[in-house]
Amino acid sequence: MLAEIFSDYTLRIVSIGSILLGIISGTLGTYAVLRKQSLIGDMVSHAALPGIGLSFLIIGSKNTEWLLLGAFIAAWIATIIVNTIYRNSRIKYDSALGMILAVFFGFGLVLLSYIQKIPNANQAGLENFLFGQASTLLERDIILMAIIAVFTIISVILFWKEFKLLSFDSDFADIIGFSTDKLDLILTTLIVIAVVVGLQSVGVVLMSAMLIAPAVASRQWTDKLSIMIILSSTFGALSGVIGTIISSSIPKMPTGPIIVMVVTIIAFISMLFAPKRGLIWRRIKDYYNKKELGANMVLNNLYSLYKNHGEDFHPHDLDTICLHHTGIIHSKRMLKRELHKLEILGLAKEYENGNWAITQKGLDKMESIFFEDGRDIV
């Protein structure tokens, strides 16, 4: 099945298109997600719809280039309007996005239904932009996507530090002389282009997932921006290929939605299993921390008792040790178990009458815990 990617013409074209889309949306989506503008992809893709309809009405052709141009113009105007509303009113950014998304998309649907009434307009197929139809990509579509991919990569490389600064601290960027308006415009324009390009493959409704999911996935695996961008593009491209392969092995299976499903699964797996940030990893770490903390809490108690007695190795009975702090130790039996563990490590010592006290080694360990991690916990 894998070999068919190379041998079969259609599979080849669709894979290349999906890979290009994955790279573009993964790269740009990283910045969108880091700037907390994840929903911008959603707004842009929905706002493109009336552009497609209007372009068809005005130009009268179903040529992909014209339709995409119309989509671009409509989406671009929408972003300008959103920014204007945001800057000149009390409305929050999210709300402005949502509003414009609804108005433009609604208008787009109205246009589509109006168009379907026009006789002989040969308008069939405009609705395909809603969900995409990847299997009908042609070579010239791929060439367009390749040009845009190259353009995107060049921009990101060229403006590497500028985009990083813009995403991290835009106020500082303004202060030291980088026009955040211009930078924002470049980045937003690139995102609009990316979305428009993706419309043919995944469609309006699903495009925002392509911008968000790869970036969210990649963030879980790395703390370096450069790696994050590379990983994000890789995840995007990978989803494209896998989605294409899966959908091609089942007849009548649409490609776009499968790609989106794959990339979403990648995101979920990353969120669960990535080291350091993954949920499962953190659960496991918490579990071990708690266990260690259990022992540490007992040690802590012994330490406090030591301090309270004017720094004296006076042994205390189990009840006292139990009561001093509420916490993980629920039963005397557990307490005894923890104490024995500490004894093995040489941190506590059992005296006659079943009483316990901390040892010098235990003291040293407590002091070292306080100054762990270079942080002043005190």
Binding site: E4, D8, Y9, T10, L11, I13, V14, P50, K62, T64, I77, I80, I81, T84, I85, N88, V103, F104, G106, F107, V110, S113, Y114, Q116, K117, I118, P119, N120, A121, N122, Q123, A124, G125, E127, N128, F131, Q133, A134, S135, T136, L137, L138, E139, T244, S247, S248, S249, I250, P251, K252, M253, P254, T255
Partner: protein, 314 residues
């Protein structure tokens, strides 16, 4: 400046939505004629046929224009209005009008007269869908003989509701059936020009199964029975293999389906070192431009068979 422009654009957008919405409502109330039988038909094909039978004793409105895909067509508020005010609604049935099923049900519940032309046909003569058992292929009109049954069914329905014009309807029907008989023979004679091995018809979606069954063509469509299903890459690949192996000289685009699909198919075939032509445009789910020969059922069917045979004769 940008601010003012933005406000202007949003206002224009919102106004247009209102205007377009209102406009369609206005039109519908003008078309009711109380002296004649008011009929609403869904597709152009049905519309043309009903007109041939009903003549000028009926007031006919057709919802979909030429080139419009009935599988995807969504009825507007204006359309529903028309359907409610009419004396009779005639539609295809068998879920051809895929997105209007609920509306038909509603109308039936409120005791409006509705008639599905496919009802007259014996289910044994219908082609069952491969994927969904119990569901049938709705593209019955390209088997002229089946369509002749439909004509009779429509005539009976009209007479039922408007018995006063019984003779008029019957006369028109007889005349029209004769024309259809000629058409059927024409198709058969043109088909004979093609050697059997060449009788393979590749189109954008499975709209021609009845045609194939009736006139001896093997028929394959890229998309399924409904244009709502997307063609997957596997479908393109399999079809391209088929075309290249059987060395079929021509594939056909449809007027109501985007031609890009066939273009992609063509390129796929070419990568298998076989050159296939786009043989021409067929009318599949709709008639051609009104006012031309192809604007009628007979004209459309003739155009189709001519295009097919000429294309495959290469």
């Amino acid at each position: 400046m940008v601010k003012k422009l933005s406000i202007m654009i949003i206002t224009i957008l919102m106004l247009s939505i209102l205007l377009i919405g209102c406009d369609s409502n206005r039109q519908s109330t003008q078309e009711i004629d109380n002296d004649k039988l008011n009929i609403v038909a869904t597709t152009t094909i049905i519309g043309d046929t009903v007109r041939k039978i009903g003549g000028d004793k009926i007031n006919l409105q057709v919802l979909m224009g030429p080139g419009i895909d009935p599988h995807l067509y969504k009825a507007s508020a204006g359309d529903v209005n028309k359907m409610q005010k009419a004396d009779l609604l005639i539609y295809n049935g068998l879920h051809l009008e895929g997105k209007m099923g609920d509306i038909f049900e509603q109308l039936q519940k409120t005791n409006k007269n509705t008639y599905a032309v496919a009802d007259v046909i014996d289910p044994n003569n219908l082609i069952e869908s491969e994927e969904f058992a119990g569901s049938y292929d709705p593209h019955i009109w390209f088997d002229v003989q089946l369509w002749m049954e439909v004509v009779e069914g429509i005539k009976d329905t009209l007479i039922n509701i408007d018995p006063g014009n019984k003779d008029y309807y019957s006369e028109n029907t007889l005349r029209y059936l004769k024309e259809l008989e000629d058409l059927n023979n024409y198709i058969k004679s043109r088909t004979d020009e093609l050697p059997e091995a060449k009788r393979v018809l590749i189109t954008a979606h499975d709209a021609f199964s009845y045609f194939g069954k009736a006139y001896g063509f093997q028929v394959k469509g890229l998309q399924g029975l409904s244009t709502a299903t997307e063609a997957g890459t596997a479908d393109v690949r399999d079809l391209a293999d088929f075309i290249a192996t059987r060395e079929i000289p021509a594939i056909f685009i449809e007027s109501s389906v985007p031609s890009k699909n066939m273009e992609a198919l063509k390129k796929a075939v070419e990568s298998r070192n076989f050159s296939v032509e786009i043989g021409g445009e067929l009318f599949s789910d709709s008639l051609g431009t009104p006012g031309t020969e192809e604007g009628t059922y007979i004209g459309t069917v003739k155009h189709n068979i001519n295009t097919i045979v000429d294309g495959l004769l290469q």
